[in-house]
Amino acid sequence: MNSTYGIVAVALVAVATLGIGAFGLRMSRTTSDFYVASRSVSPVWNSSAIGGEYLSAASFLGVAGLVLTHGADMLWYPIGWTTGYLLLLVFVAAPLRRSGAYTIPDFAQVRLQSMGVRTVASALVVAVGWLYLMPQFQGAGLTLRTVTGAPNWVGTVVVAVIVVVNVVSGGMRSITFVQAFQYWLKLTALLIPVFFLLHAWRGDGRPSPVAPEEWFQPFSQADGPGLYLTYSVMIATFLGTMGLPHVVVRFYTNPDGHAARRTTLIVLALLGTFYLLPTIYGVLGRIYARDLLDSGRADTVVLELPSRVIGGSTGELLAALLTAGAFAAFLSTSSGLTMSVAGVVGQGLARGRISTITALRVAAAGCVVVPLLLALSAERIAVASSVTFAFALAASTFCPLLVLGIWWRGLTARGAISGLIGGGLSAGVAAIITIGARPDGWFGVLMSQPAAWSVPIGFALMVGVSLATRSDVPANVSRTMVRLHTPERLDVDRRF
C-alpha cells in the first residue's frame, strides 16, 4: 500500500479533530460546558456524537475481521451493540437524564444517599474505561503499521496524545462537535468504497466466498459451545451498552428526558445504517483476502481490500479514506472514554483545593497512561473480542445498578455495593484468566464469555442483599422516584 496517501489521511483526521476541538474551546467557559456541554445539545447533534463515539475500532475494523474469520455467527456482535441501545432507551434514557446527575457514580449517590456506593462505582468506571481503551490504542498501532509500516507503538502513542490534548483543551463541548463530525466521516469512509468494491466484484463475475460449510451457517454443530457463546455475547452486549461510561455520560448532555429519548431513537437509525456495511467487507474478504486469516491479521481486512480488489490510484485513495475512517474511530471512542473516566476521577480530585477544570485535565492525562502502558506491553488479542470484556463487566455491574435503581424502590446502598463488587469480580476475574492463562475446554469457554453467569450474579446479589437490609431503604426514595419519572414540564417538587 502506498504510504503517502495513508499518512496524509491520518494527518488530516488529526488536524480536523484538533481544529474542531479548538473551535469548541472558544465556546467552553464554565464547568458545566466542560463536563456536559451545558446540557444544551440538540438531538441530531447529540445522536451523531453518540454514533461517532460508540462506533469504535471494534465496529469499524473488528466486525469485518470477525466475519472474515468466523462467518455468520459473528453477526451477533453488531446486532448486540445496536440492541443495547434499544434497551438503554426503554429502561434508562429518560430517567437517567431526569436524575440530573453527571456520571454513574453521581447517579448512585443521588439515588442511594451513600458515599460507599459512589466510591465503588467510580472504581468500576475506571476499570471499564481501561478495558475499553486498551484495544482502541492497540488497534491504532495496527492500523498505522498496515498503512505506513511504522512500528506498532507509533500509532498507539499518537492516538493517546491527540486524545489527551483534545480533552484537556476543550472538554465535553468540543468533544461533542468532534464526535458528530467523526460519525459522518466513518459512515462515508465505509460507504463509498463499498460501491467501488461491489462494482469490481460484479466485473469479476460475482465469485462466491470460499469457505467451509460452518462459515455460512450459524450453529452447524449443535453440541459444541456455540449456543452458550452466542447467548452470552447477546447478554453482554444487550445489557452492557447501558453501563458503558462514555455512553451514559452522553445522556446528560440532552436538554431533557424527552430529548434523551429522541436522541436514542436517532442513534438506533444511525447504528443500523452503519452496521449494514462491515459485513460486506467481511464477505468480500473471504473472496479476495483469505491469506489475512493465515497471517493472523484479519482485523486489517477493511484496510486491505481496496488495493487488492481495485488497485491503482483509485484503490490507494479509497484505502486512504478507510484509514481516515479507522483513525477517526480510534480517536472518537478513546476521546469519549477518556472524557468520561476523567470526569469521574476529576470529580473525586476536585474535593481538594484544585479547581474542577484543573482536576478534569489532570485526571484525563492520568487516565490515559495505564491503558497506554497495557496496550504497549500486552499481547494483541482481536479487537472485537477484548471489547467484549468491557461490555461483560458493565453488564454485570452498572446494568443492575441502573435498572434496579430506576425501577425498584427496594434497592439499598449495601445491596448495590454487594452487586457491584460481586458482579465486577466475576466478570473481571474471567477477563484476567482468559487474557493471562487461556484455559481450554468448557472452563475456557465460560471464562471467555462470562456475561451469561456474571450478570445473574450481579442482579441476584443486589436484589438479595437489598431484601436482607430492607430497613436501609433511603427515606427520600419517593421523592427520588418523582424526580426520575415525571416529565420536566410538570412543576412538581423534585428536591431531595
Binding site: 434499544l86 429519548r261 410538570l490
Partner: protein, 129 residues
C-alpha cells in the same frame, strides 16, 4: 313580667377556626408524598415499566429466539433469497429496521402515558396552582 316571645332562634357556630374546604390538586398530593400522591406516581411508573418490559419481551421472543430457530430448522438456514442465505439476510439486514420500529413504537407509547399524567396533574395547563 315574662319576656316577650320572639320565636325560635337557631344558634350555630361560625367555625372560624376550622380550615376552609379547598380542593387539593394532584400536584400537592405528589409534592407532599401523601397516599394519593403515591398512587398516582406508582401508576405512572408502572405504565412506563410495562412499556419497557413489552419491548424486552418482544426482543427475547424475536432476536433471542433466532439461534434456537436456526438450530431447530436446518432447511430454514439453507434457503436463499436473491442468492443470499436467509440467516445472513435476517442477521445482517432485517434486524436493524426491526429494532428502529420497536424503539419508535415504544416512544409513542411512553410519551402518551406522560401526556396523560401531565393532563391529570395539571388539567388546565401548567400555570395554575
Amino acid at each position: 313580667m315574662t319576656e316577650e316571645y320572639t320565636g325560635r332562634v337557631r344558634i350555630t357556630s361560625p367555625l372560624t377556626t376550622a380550615p376552609a374546604h379547598v380542593r387539593r390538586s394532584v400536584r400537592q398530593e405528589i409534592n407532599e408524598s401523601t397516599g394519593i400522591g403515591e398512587v398516582y406516581m406508582r401508576s405512572l411508573i408502572r405504565a412506563q415499566l410495562r412499556a419497557a418490559l413489552t419491548v424486552a419481551a418482544t426482543l427475547a421472543l424475536s432476536i433471542g429466539a433466532l439461534p434456537l430457530l436456526f438450530l431447530a430448522f436446518d432447511s430454514f438456514t439453507e434457503m436463499h433469497v436473491f442468492g443470499v442465505p436467509v440467516p445472513w439476510l435476517i442477521l445482517g439486514v432485517l434486524v436493524y429496521p426491526g429494532l428502529f420500529a420497536l424503539g419508535w413504537v415504544y416512544i409513542r407509547q411512553v410519551e402518551r402515558a406522560e401526556r396523560d399524567f401531565t393532563e391529570l396533574v395539571e388539567p388546565h395547563g401548567p400555570d395554575q396552582s
